[in-house]
Symmetry: C2
DNA sequence: GTCAAGAATCTAGCATTGCTAGTTCTGTGG
DNA sequence: CCACAGAACTAGCAATGCTAGATTCTTGAC
């Protein structure tokens, strides 16, 4: 069945093509510029083929987001491993903010725009779990306390990322904010109470 | 000139009517349901009158946001004043999160959706400055250190607010997260370094 | 009171959007 | 070589933000 086999391969290739085209277009001109017509033109097919691959436009964005979760996890992992253990929080968080600044449109698809992707649930996709695991891991062993700290610092990082790329907070001072944030979280008491 | 005077009054009344109608519709069904047609129907005028009051649809949303900044500042102020001084950070931050949870659509217009409103600039509208001032004030006198802490905690609060209302973080645990956040920020050293 | 000037408001329409029904083309198996 | 299945396209629908042009309504001079 090499015939249908080849078809399968070509189909997968086109699937990837659509995702990367959407990503590039979004990164270049923002998600509001990603219309089904422009996207179709970009991949050199007509609109209906997009719907042969994805249920609707949002599903395409979700696919871009999923790709992003993988990359984000990878970036945080590498940053943590290539830094001394005493700096693992700082390195991981720095990688997070760097990713958000480098790929604002992908970041938007992951964490800002409406999505069908399930967070903190049984159906949460593996790359997302892995990325969050990196954040927890930077605090040490995976126990309840570190998970809580990781969740909180994730919230903080997300806030900083989104407010600065959205022009609501001066982006220049992001480094200082990160320093301050890491300092506060490193002072965290080992048990609750002082 | 009571004639033109009355016209002026009616015009102002309708201006307010449009804003509150947009707000209610957004809060009830989300901003994507706020179309110019539905909004026009709701205020019982035709579409073009909307454009006699606002440059475009986004300007209506910005007007809703501006109203929100006033209310948020007010809420934080009241919370801080009716709490013991030792709890002012906690009270102010609690009010922030409460506002975000109570008025998700308004919060979205203020801090998430694209906007023409200038943040951290000379043209920043007074209600926005006042609201941020409340946050700074909860840390004590308005100096550089407290401003930096306020900016950072604002980022953190925003992250928590947006991730929990967006279904990306379980909303039930918001109280615990707030406790943890406030504990970390209360431990902040007075001068940089340990 | 009448009637033209000007303001206020509406109707109707444009271009663009996401999505799809129905037709045409293409390549494969007999 | 041909009939047929699947793939791709054309053309269109309903809804969107916004606006030009027609229409109605108010106002003030005579």
């Amino acid at each position: 069945m090499t015939a249908t086999d080849r078809r399968e391969r070509e189909r997968a290739r086109r699937h990837r093509l659509i995702i990367t085209a959407a990503r590039e277009l979004a990164e270049a001109e923002g998600w509001e510029a990603v219309t089904t017509r422009r996207l179709a033109e970009r991949v050199e097919y007509s609109q209906p083929v997009l719907y042969g691959h994805f249920a609707n436009k949002d599903a395409i964005r979700d696919a871009v987001a999923l790709e992003g979760f993988g990359e984000l996890g990878e970036m945080m992992r590498e940053a943590r491993l290539s830094a001394p253990a005493s700096e693992s929080i700082r390195a991981t968080c720095g990688a997070y903010l760097e990713f958000a600044a480098m790929h604002p449109a992908v970041y938007q698809a992951m964490f800002i725009l409406p999505t069908e992707t399930k967070f903190a649930s049984a159906e949460t996709p593996a790359p997302l779990r892995a990325a969050f695991g990196e954040l927890v891991g930077s605090f040490g062993p995976d126990n309840e306390r570190n998970a809580a700290l990781a969740e909180l610092i994730w919230g903080s990082l997300h806030g900083l990322a989104v407010l600065s790329t959205g022009g609501r907070m001066p982006p220049e001072a992001q480094g200082q904010r990160l320093d301050l944030l890491v300092a506060l979280f490193s002072n965290a008491p080992t048990r609750e109470g002082t």
